[in-house]
């Protein structure tokens, strides 16, 4: 018997994995992927909660979230390209000329 809790816990764990990825990985692309993981984790919560409440709102919100994710991905990747164009590297640690 799978309850909402299962999904909540699952999404929570996935979310944590995503956050961990954001600053454990040393590759901008992977970092972006981690953000995607976080968003998807949230999606599970939405859908599960929507089902729990017996409404489609959850799915629709998921739909919007995907759009946002797409938009972010687009801009993010564009920025990655721009950065790469300047520094020929994808390591987040390479970009520390702005500090203090």
């Amino acid at each position: 018997m799978v309850t909402l809790n299962h999904y909540l816990i699952l999404s929570g764990l996935l979310f944590c994995v995503g956050t961990a990825g954001v600053f454990l990985r040393r590759n901008l692309i992977t970092v972006l992927l981690s953000v995607e993981i976080m968003l998807n984790a949230v999606n599970i919560t939405f859908v599960a909660a929507g089902r729990y409440h017996g409404s489609v709102d959850g799915q629709i919100i998921t739909f919007f979230v995907m759009t946002v994710a797409a938009a972010e991905a687009a801009v993010g990747l564009a920025l990655v390209i721009a950065l790469f164009r300047h520094r020929e590297t994808l390591s987040p640690d390479a970009f520390t000329s702005l500090k203090w």
Binding site: T45, I61, V75, G76
Partner: protein
């Protein structure tokens, strides 16, 4: 018509943005075109529309509400936008910024800001947030030539995405509890959540999202880098606009929807506010890049604004609005001057660039001084009334210690504002950078900002009345 009424200002701005894009599209290479004009028209229209909508309390699609509160924020945003537009026309050519995209994105950002302040649905707030954020990310990195711009933009983007994920998770939990994203339903549901823990999580995560946008400690790390890396004019725009919008939504969500849970979030925000005021003021002391310095100052100001939200009384709510306006004019003026003096090769954003400014540009130096004094909170300027109002609100609810931290940190911040004044007035011009001349419209805009600063500082009663009216409708 009425169904759309609430969205009219937003629509106008969006249309002007699209117009700007089209203009860029049809423009021949090298042809000069006053694209800012579209923005000015649109923003003026939005301003007028907002004034017309005053007291109408229109609602559209059940998710956008043009109550006086959001209208007040709209007006602030329109003023910010108009000033930005005027300055931009001088600046962007020098800064080698693609004009059409710049104006379009700025206007889109403004529309997103307006929407964020007016939305009554967490989902829409999230979307609006994303609209303005993405636009601002891009604006930050708009100078393709500069690696700093790209770096700043990416930092801002990544942390923004990161925090918005938290924000979204907050929304999700709220949705889990209430089965809806409408603020009213969320509020009632969370207040009566069977087990408060989940509600608390939601509150915490939402707070994180907002605190990031208003750059409160410890979610502020992006601010100095983004402000420094971005083109100065963009810095001016986002330091004021994003704050206004974010605080609008912040106030709406926390002071109306989550008001019943005050006991839960006031302590957290108090800690955040204290840290923000202290860090902002203290770290600003040693900055030598004016944009970075003003970034820290804007962090400190975020702290003061948080006081208004923490106070959570009418005075506090109105104070937030008034302070947003006061801060907007002063900060935009100051950064505007920095922008107007900068060029692509010489950004003119180092402290020493201002040495002996009053010899070569007495007028600009004077205006700069006025803006800085206002940011520092000296009478008889807007900044003083704003600070006083905020602290009055805090004290009324017995937050004496926050108020004291606030005033002391403001004293510290005065120190670095004065550093600029010292440079301008009391240091001899070392290496005079060739400073571009400022066009008449920009001077007019600066003059308007100065007038606003003094008007708000000497005769604030009228504006305070409006602020008070605009909070009566929602809270």
């Amino acid at each position: 018509m009425n169904a759309f009424a609430a969205t009219i200002p937003i629509l106008i701005v969006v249309l002007s943005a699209i117009a700007a894009m089209l203009a860029e599209a049809i423009r021949h290479p090298g042809e000069r075109m006053y694209i800012a004009g579209f923005g000015l028209i649109g923003l003026t229209g939005a301003l007028v529309a907002s004034c017309f909508l005053w007291d109408a309390d229109a609602t559209s699609f059940g998710v956008v509400r043009a109550d006086n509160f959001s209208l007040f924020v709209n007006i602030v945003l329109c003023i910010i936008g108009i000033l930005t537009m005027v300055f931009s026309h001088d600046v962007i050519e020098r800064e080698e910024i693609p004009a059409g995209e710049y104006y379009a994105l700025t206007l889109f950002a403004i529309s997103g800001m307006m929407l964020m302040a007016a939305a009554t649905d967490l989902l829409v707030i999230f979307l609006a947030l994303e609209v303005l954020s993405l636009a601002v990310y891009v604006l930050t990195g708009l100078r393709r030539g500069s690696g700093l711009g790209a770096e700043a933009a990416f930092k801002y983007f990544l942390l923004g995405a990161f925090s918005s994920a938290f924000f979204l998770y907050g929304i999700a939990i709220a949705f889990t509890i209430s089965g809806s994203t409408r603020l009213d339903q969320v509020g009632t549901a969370m207040a009566s959540a069977p087990s408060p823990t989940l509600a608390w999580l939601a509150v915490g995560l939402l707070a994180v999202g907002f605190c990031f946008k208003v750059s409160a400690v410890p979610f502020h790390m992006w601010t100095p880098d983004a402000y420094e890396g971005a083109p100065t004019i963009v810095t001016a725009f986002m330091s004021t606009g994003v704050k206004a919008a974010a605080f609008g939504a912040f106030a709406r969500v926390f002071l109306s929807t989550l008001e019943p849970m005050q006991g839960q979030w006031v302590p957290v925000l108090s800690a955040v506010a204290a840290a923000t005021m202290i860090v902002g003021a203290v770290v600003g002391v040693l900055q030598n890049n004016i944009k970075r310095m003003l970034a820290y100052s804007s962090i400190a100001h975020a702290g003061y604004l948080l006081l208004g939200i923490i106070a959570a009384n009418n005075a506090g709510k109105a104070a937030v609005l008034f302070y947003l306006l006061a801060y907007a004019v002063a900060n935009l003026g100051a950064l505007g001057i920095v922008a107007l003096l900068g060029t692509a090769e010489h950004p003119h954003d180092q402290l020493r660039d201002f040495a002996g400014l009053w010899r070569t540009r007495p007028a600009l130096a004077g205006l700069m001084t006025v803006f800085l004094l206002s940011l520092g909170g000296f009478p008889p300027t807007a900044g003083f009334i704003g600070k006083w109002y905020i602290f009055a609100a805090a004290v009324q609810n017995g937050h004496y210690w926050l108020a004291i931290i606030g005033v002391l940190s403001s004293v510290v911040s005065v120190f670095f504002y004065l550093r600029i004044v010292v440079m301008m007035y009391m240091t001899e011009d070392a290496s005079a950078p060739a400073r571009p001349r400022v066009s008449a419209p920009s001077m007019a805009a600066l003059g308007f900002a100065t007038l606003a600063v003094f008007y708000l500082g000497v005769l604030p009663a009228r504006v305070i009345d409006y602020a008070l009216q605009s909070i009566q409708t929602i809270f």
